[in-house]
């Protein structure tokens, strides 16, 4: 599988409120997942799978930085992201920012996400999104991607092979 044709670029804030770009994490592999904390099915499943893959891989500190980039910046403030990830997916760092910067990050990573009405959501909307996971190498180059159907075992095996 060839490297994904994305620009792994963003200019956002992390869930501690610190300004970050892709350069902030140079020297580490980035595992990047887009989503939103109110997502009821896709994100919980993806984050649980990726957490399991990382648990099995058990990388040394700093080798892999898992990032969860919101596509719903209006609701996903740094505090909301921090609480959500701490409760269930503590390996991940959440990223958010102004809508135009989220749009730029989506464009760079070829992520589709669009708000639509959702009567089952307390705020009345959801943001269906692409559930692809990207791997970016320590020099900031796109290295790999996993579509949603990939299993935790496959991702663990790929991480072992690619980050060697």
């Amino acid at each position: 599988m060839t490297a994904p044709p994305i620009r792994a670029a963003f200019d956002l804030v992390d869930h501690h409120g610190r300004a970050v770009t892709e350069r902030t994490y140079r020297g580490s592999w980035l595992l990047v997942q887009f989503g939103f904390t109110s997502c009821r099915v896709v994100c919980p499943r993806a984050l649980a799978k990726l957490s399991a893959a990382l648990d099995a891989f058990d990388p040394p500190d700093g080798l892999v930085v898992p990032l969860y980039v919101t596509v719903d910046p209006e609701r996903d403030t740094p505090g909301v992201l921090r609480a959500y990830l701490a409760a269930g997916h503590p390996r991940f760092t959440g990223l958010t920012g102004p809508p135009e910067r989220i749009e730029a990050a989506k464009e760079a990573f070829l992520v589709f996400a669009r708000r639509r009405p959702d009567p089952d959501d307390p705020d009345g909307y959801a943001v269906p999104h692409t559930a692809i996971t990207y791997l970016v190498d320590p020099d900031g180059r796109p290295a790999h991607h996993w579509p949603d159907p990939r299993s935790a075992d496959e991702i663990t095996a790929d991480l072992r092979r690619l980050t060697r």
């Binding site: 599988m1 060839t2 994904p4 044709p5 896709v42 070829l110 589709f112 996400a113 669009r114 639509r116 269906p128 999104h129 692409t130 692809i132 579509p147 949603d148 159907p149």
Partner: protein, 496 residues
């Protein structure tokens, strides 16, 4: 010994009409560049459903189905024809419409006119109604013939230059891998809902060939793009539904507004085309809905014949929409894929009685006729896509034929078996299969067309014995050229 080609067993010899369709496709593939005679439809500028791209691509699909299911041991009958058809698919006359259509202006994308611009590269954005056919036809070729012809960089190049206008050469080189990669990432970018045909118009139908192409690419190169795309497609369309409120396939979705357009009329081609293709990966669903869907379109006729009722031509912006619906052909193709023999036979009987079947030098086609009905009200209207391609496709397909191509691929074992690896233009092949290790072929020399009257059997095992018309023919090496005698059919057997 069990053969990998046993799929051919039980489907019998090709009959006269099936052989006539194959001959017609071969003849169309041999036309001089830009000789499109017999292929011109009602539409202007190749922008409708009867365009050359569809005729060329579905001849390739029909040949692929015939090779896979009926004549598996005759790659030499199909390979060069498919290559010639793909060569034609790459001609600018086939894709140059995109330079204009890319600018938008239809009722569905008029509001986007400021954003759209003239685009020469016919596969770089949208236009899945062309790009997916180039991709899937190239990959069907490489899968069926265990070949890497279209892996060569630039093997799928779109180029145009005119002495009279347009400046320098326009040249867009792709190959099976780069094109597949490009289409896949367009799918990702669109959230797997599909890639648009005309700007902003995502048709369910036109994304099915890309899925077939992804599957063939997975078979040729490894990977699971097809499964990934299907999973994403299923999830994306779950919000809209594959079917409309009346149980017909939703036709399209506007990319920007996410508004779904149902099969309102309903139009037979929408259900038939979508159902036939979607059967590749979604067989139970397609079969489940077929009976009620098709019943809405069939008109019983005399003596067991049956025709297809088209929807009235639409009026849009005060204009009648002029297009080749190809309703008859698509319903026949759909019935063949569903294994609905009764409906297929009735449709073919109607065509044979009311649509002027025409034989020329061993080739069979049904010429275009724009007259809606005869004096007694029997449908006579037929488009080149139906008369050249789809009725033949339906005759040559087998039940779940596309499903079989997708789900029961050939393995390396098949490609190691003896086969007719070259077939001259004037040789008719009505049987070619390996059964229990024995290659069986039935051949006839067609004197109405030029040729040397030979076939070449390749991959001949050591110690094999060749019988032509019951007589022993000496063998020397792993290839042998067999001269087909004039006269009636002759049976050939290669025994291990």
């Amino acid at each position: 010994m069990t053969s990998t080609t046993t799929a051919a067993q039980g489907v019998g010899l090709l009959d006269r009409e099936q052989l006539g369709h194959l001959r017609h496709w071969d003849e169309l593939s041999r036309r001089q560049p830009n000789d499109w005679s017999l292929m011109q439809g009602k539409g202007t500028g190749q922008d409708d459903f009867g365009g050359y791209r569809f005729q060329l691509a579905y001849m390739v699909y029909g040949l692929a189905l015939t090779h896979r299911h009926r004549l598996p041991a005759a790659p030499g009958l199909f390979r060069a024809t498919i290559q010639r058809l793909i060569d034609k698919l790459l001609l600018p006359e086939v894709w140059l419409y995109w330079r204009d259509v890319s600018r938008g202006g239809s009722v569905f994308n008029a509001h986007l006119a400021d954003r759209l611009h003239e685009e020469w590269d016919p596969v770089v954005r949208d236009n899945i109604m062309y790009s997916a056919y180039v991709q899937s036809c190239a990959l069907l070729h490489d899968h069926l013939f265990a070949d890497d012809r279209y892996a060569v960089p630039g093997s799928l190049t779109f180029r145009h230059w005119s002495f009279f206008w347009g400046g320098g050469e326009k040249r867009f080189p792709y190959d099976r891998d780069s094109l597949t990669e490009h289409l896949y990432w367009q799918m990702v970018r669109n959230g797997y809902i599909g890639i648009a045909c005309e700007p902003n118009c995502v048709f369910q139908i036109c994304n099915q060939p890309a899925i077939l192409g992804f599957r063939m690419h997975d078979l040729v190169t490894g990977g699971s793009r097809a499964d990934d795309v299907v999973a994403g497609y299923e999830r994306a369309w779950a919000d809209f539904g594959r079917l409309d409120a009346a149980g017909h396939y939703n036709m399209m979705l506007s990319e920007d507004s996410r508004a779904v357009r149902a099969n309102e009329a309903p139009s037979p081609w929408v259900d038939a085309w979508c159902g036939a293709l979607m059967n590749t990966w979604n067989r139970e669903f397609v079969h489940e809905h077929y009976p009620s869907q098709v019943a809405a379109f069939l008109v019983p006729g005399p003596d067991g014949t049956c025709s297809v009722r088209s929807a009235p031509a639409r009026q849009v912006m005060g204009q009648p929409v002029v297009t080749d619906t190809c309703d008859t052909g698509w319903v026949a193709a759909w019935a063949s894929e569903m294994g609905d023999r009764a409906t297929l036979d009735a449709l073919l009987a109607h065509a044979d009685r009311f649509m002027a079947p025409t034989w020329r030098d061993g080739a069979l086609y049904y010429p275009r006729n724009d007259t809606p009905t005869d004096a007694d009200g029997h449908r006579t209207d037929i488009e080149p896509m139906t008369g050249n391609v789809l009725l033949g496709y339906a005759r040559l397909n087998v039940p779940d034929g596309l499903w079989g191509l997708y789900n029961r691929p050939w393995t390396a074992e098949h490609h190691a078996e003896p086969a007719l690896v070259e077939v001259d233009r004037d040789v008719e092949v009505s049987r070619a299969e390996v059964v229990d290790g024995v290659l069986h072929a039935r051949l006839r020399r067609e004197t109405a067309v030029p040729g040397d009257g030979t076939v070449t059997i390749g991959r001949v095992p050591d110690g094999a014995r060749l019988l032509v018309g019951g007589a022993d023919v000496p063998l020397d090496g792993e290839r042998v050229v067999v001269r087909v005698p004039d006269g009636p059919t002759v049976d050939v057997a290669l025994l291990p």
